[in-house]
Subunit: 288 residues, 2 copies
DNA sequence: GACAATCTGAAATTATCGCTTCAACAGTCT
DNA sequence: AGACTGTTGAAGCGATAATTTCAGATTGTC
């Protein structure tokens, strides 16, 4: 591991301020006026900005202990990067006393990284647009997934059915798709899960649905399924895991976040529906 | 002063995301992973970081409307500069520019807390014991879940079936349980998902399985299902969410971690099995 | 005012970057 | 099968950036 404490360029400059020449102080002032951006342009621009020559910049960099201007600049970038990088969950010891190499901890780290990476990758307006689409009660919704993602499709369907009517699961068997497609039209929204290795048959299904006028929403991985070309909205997520398979945790996260947002978006109706559902559950259970 | 409203590079990228090529998407992901610092190095470094060639970087820059890489980079610097000058440093933790109150960010925070809370709560030796139990090939495994957790049971079953033989899903319908119980004996392990509100019928099923000599493994929430009294191992997890329902993300995490650990524990056999599976998948797919 | 010490930038040199070309490749459509 | 369209990176060629050199400018000292 690298030395944890390393002085920033700003600190070093202030420390050496006394022994700087006139041209170097000009550079310092310019840099501080717009720290550290001023130093991230080319050496030529930085020199011109401070009204000095390029060799003066170079001498300053060397005075600060760098091998050359690129080294100086790289340090500036590293500083800024560290500053911008959110100290996301400084994984303060996951599992109580298991070693860091325990699979639980390795998986937890991967899950965290996938989650934060996905959120950076994603456009929250796409998310909002998808929520609006799925909240619209004039639309019917069909949800489908592949071999692995099928369980997620089931999960999303189950939850969405609690929130609103007209939600159906696209059966896992391609043999049944023609009948499903028969009832898909302009008013329908088809939500598809597709992660690598992308399912060729799912692509065909998506194309057919699209042809019949349905709107496609795609939930996929960071490498993006080819279905994206047909979809009105794509939500790419990171799914890397320290195992032979990818991790679908973030897909589930997305499913749950969608459901929560949809429920929020139409609370009064949803609340009424949930009440009714509870009542029905009771009356089914009671008489056994 | 320049036009105040100008699309950022991040926005432009998201807008064009659908029409990007694979190499370009790699670049996009790399840039977003460390935005915008990743793009401020030289074109060569940026390309290497994303594992693509320099011409691909150039093509992306041109696709976004820039005359070349330096122009692209200058815009990045300008954006960053503007952002840094802004006193309200937008260090938005999660989604690039969504507010903290956006459901995505609230959900992400909850998921992170659930995950780290679960790991602190859990005894990793229980986890290891469960892994050992499920790795033992002399045992048959049955996996069951309730109305909500059923999808997770399906997921775990699907994955575990790839790792080892003799894994079956307990059907969701209680009517079918007698037949399932008939074949459960001392050699069997029954894995049950049960979160609040705990399923009374699932408890009965678990009790019957226990009576017949099966070992019970319970995956439950922090308030712990009554089935825990019957189980040899219980894995309690945190499932709170900022919504009307609980979040099952951590349950999925546990399922994936279990599968990964089981695969690790018996790698040679598992590898052979996976190879065989791949072969079969091929031969089923080919003749369509 | 001469001298030494230091500083500075123009110009030359070198290294690296950014860009173009082109052949290989993959996927698609006849 | 084979032509076609679109994507990709290796190779090479300017262009620009980074560095070095050195002569002139500046400053301080005697």
């Amino acid at each position: 591991m690298r030395q944890p404490v390393q002085t920033t360029i700003a600190e070093r400059l202030r420390l050496k301020a006394a022994e700087l020449t006139a041209a170097e102080r000009k550079l310092m002032a310019t840099l501080f006026a717009n720290y550290p951006m001023a130093g991230l342009a080319s050496i030529t621009e930085f020199a011109r900005e401070a009204c000095v020559s390029t060799p003066s910049v170079l001498r300053l960099a060397k005075k600060l202990g760098f091998s050359g201007f690129p080294a100086f600049q790289e340090r500036l970038r590293a500083e800024l990067s560290a500053q911008l990088q959110n100290p996301i969950a400084k994984h303060d010891r996951w599992s109580a006393d298991a070693p860091d190499t325990h699979i639980l901890n390795r998986f937890a780290t991967a899950a965290m990284e996938n989650l934060s990476g996905s959120l950076k990758l994603m456009d929250h307006r796409s998310f909002d647009a998808v929520v609006a689409l799925l909240t619209d009660r004039r639309r019917r919704i069909h949800i489908g997934g592949g071999r692995i993602t099928g369980a997620l499709a089931v999960y999303l369907t189950t939850h969405l059915q609690m929130a609103r009517p007209e939600v159906t699961l696209v059966p896992a068997m391609p043999a049944m798709w023609p009948q499903v497609l028969l009832d898909i039209g302009k008013k329908d929204v088809v939500v598809v899960f597709d992660i690598r290795r992308y399912d060729a048959r799912m692509l065909e299904f998506a194309a057919s649905a699209r042809e019949r006028g349905a709107k496609l929403v795609l939930i996929t991985d960071q490498w993006i399924s080819p279905i994206a070309r047909l979809a009105v909205h794509s939500l790419p997520l990171r799914i890397e895991a320290p195992s032979s398979w990818d991790s679908n945790i973030v897909l589930l996260f997305m499913a749950e976040a969608l459901v929560a947002a949809i429920i929020n978006a139409a609370w009064p109706e949803t609340q009424a529906r949930i009440r009714e559902l509870e009542g029905l559950a009771e009356s089914v259970r009671r008489p056994r």
